[in-house]
Amino acid sequence: MKFVKIDKKEWAAGLDRLSAAYRLFGPVKEGNFHEFKALDAQERPDMAYVNTRRSPKALIYPQSEKMFEFSLDQTRADHHILREAGKDYTARAVIGIRPCDADAFRLVQKNFDTPEYRDPYWVQAYEATTLVGLGCSSPCSTCFCTTAGSGPFHEAGLDLLLADEGSGYLVKVLSPKGEALVQAAGWSDATAAEAAERRLQDLRGEAEARIVSRVPTAKLKDQKTNHLFDAPFWQEVAFSCINCGTCTYVCPTCWCFDLQDEVSGKDGIRYRNWDSCMFPLFTHHGSGHNPRSQKTQRVRQRFMHKLKYFVDKYDNGIQCVGCGRCIRLCPVNIDIRRVCNLMNHFDATACAIPAA
């Protein structure tokens, strides 16, 4: 692997050169919080941020996205026929994404990019994007990435990994996309790979040691789905939930969506909007029947999906990267680490009523 060094004095000039070839996105402070935004000319990402409130998933998968346009005007030859909405899939780069958030795209990819169907919007946006990661040297108390299959210097899903060394960044080039971006920025100060890798390992080790929050997942796969589904703890887990949907909204790996048409006059648009398994309408049949009419059923669905169904379907760990947003932002303090613990250690036989 190739490494380069960027003197922070060269940082801004490099970003300016990049903005000629890429649309740039990065963390910026808005009010009291950081959010990922498109960077205006001369605007710099705040590389001192800890984490954003919302995950950067919207950069690939917008909360609301035009899919098709159509006309209901009968005088038009193509009336009532859907047309592809115009899209901008020119090259874009996300500067300063955390490794957990970048890794989340790889989990979400399993849903949107399948052997049978490829979601054209997600796939094209993801392919157009170069992810410039920023290693995490001071994690939050709610971070549990190291036991959720990711980590503060996790490389999978990134094109470049930056480690902040005070006066500059040590950069590991992880993909051809990353190589192209380094060249476009003019960051050409190559450094000896072996020493750089050792330095990165040291930083990784120090950062991982700071993450003390853990989830146990080893036994999830061998648990029986129906045992977990019928486990007695769901009522208690869901008791305080107000079904606000914040957890699904801020989560980097929640992907559920709704399709909706909007019409103004004779012109219409078919949109895709984020949806949430926390909402009763999500599964409400036209007949009035609803298989998840109760909030306990909906809370169970969210955790079973992330911690059991996904595990069984893809055999690739849990559908969570340990970013901790849902823990920090849940208004009633529901904690996925605790639920994961309950599910992992559940013993159906211990709860069974002994035969008479």
């Binding site: 209901l72 849903n111 979601d119 999500f282 409400h284 029947h289 059923q297 169904y309």
Partner: protein
Amino acid sequence: MRNPYLPYPVRIDEIITETEDRNLKTFKFVFLDPDDEGRFAYRAGQFAELSIPGKGEIPIGIASSPTEKGFVKFTVNKVGLVSSFLHNMKVGDIMGVRGPLGNSYPWDVLEGKNVVIIGGGFAFTTLRASIVYMLEPANRPKFKDIHVIYGARNPGMLLYGQELAAWEMRDDIHMHITVDGTDDPNWKYNTGFVPTITEQKAPPADPDTYAIICGPPIMIKFTQPVLDKLGYGHDQIIMSLEMRMKCGIGICGRCNIGKDFVCKDGPVFTLAQLNNMPKEY
């Protein structure tokens, strides 16, 4: 990359009011681009999203058989926003059809077998497709005995009345039509609920006999014990499920039962499969 969300444009070619309560209508669609018919190659038991620009999409079982060429047919119950709007549309109107979607009845397994079709109410649409498919002269030798047990509340609520009458006349299909009740003195078929008629008329269990059940939950609930009593194995009981859907291709996340999506991994499951899935449908 073909966009799986883009429907094929179709024109409404014919609208048939199926039931006396006018709540069920059959829509026959013709593809605006004749080549789309080939792209829409389907199997009996699959469904499609009927797409009405400005209103949205609804997942509906395909009622025509792949052996019927030049059109696709859907029988739609008037329930919500899209289906109510569709019921008010006219012959000649343009809309979209997106699919085919889902698995189908397991035709590779069913070949060479006795097939017992058990349907109730308006859930007879993909069963109609299956019957027409099996009765096609080229296909009929591939199947052994075919039994059909089909019931509705009363004679006026039975779908596809003329076809039912025509099938009654044939000797290569055993029809057991029933109604919950009727005051029609000329009613010449069965009277009684589907589970009762199943107990009386269904052939005995046999390793070569498969049942396909499609109907309202209450019918399924009481028919399944009857099949158990008759000795049908749970691998030989095949069911088609319904669920609220949007994408129809296993991506939007709402129609799961456990790790399986009804839209993509179903809608057809064996009872043996359903026994191992959470009871959340």
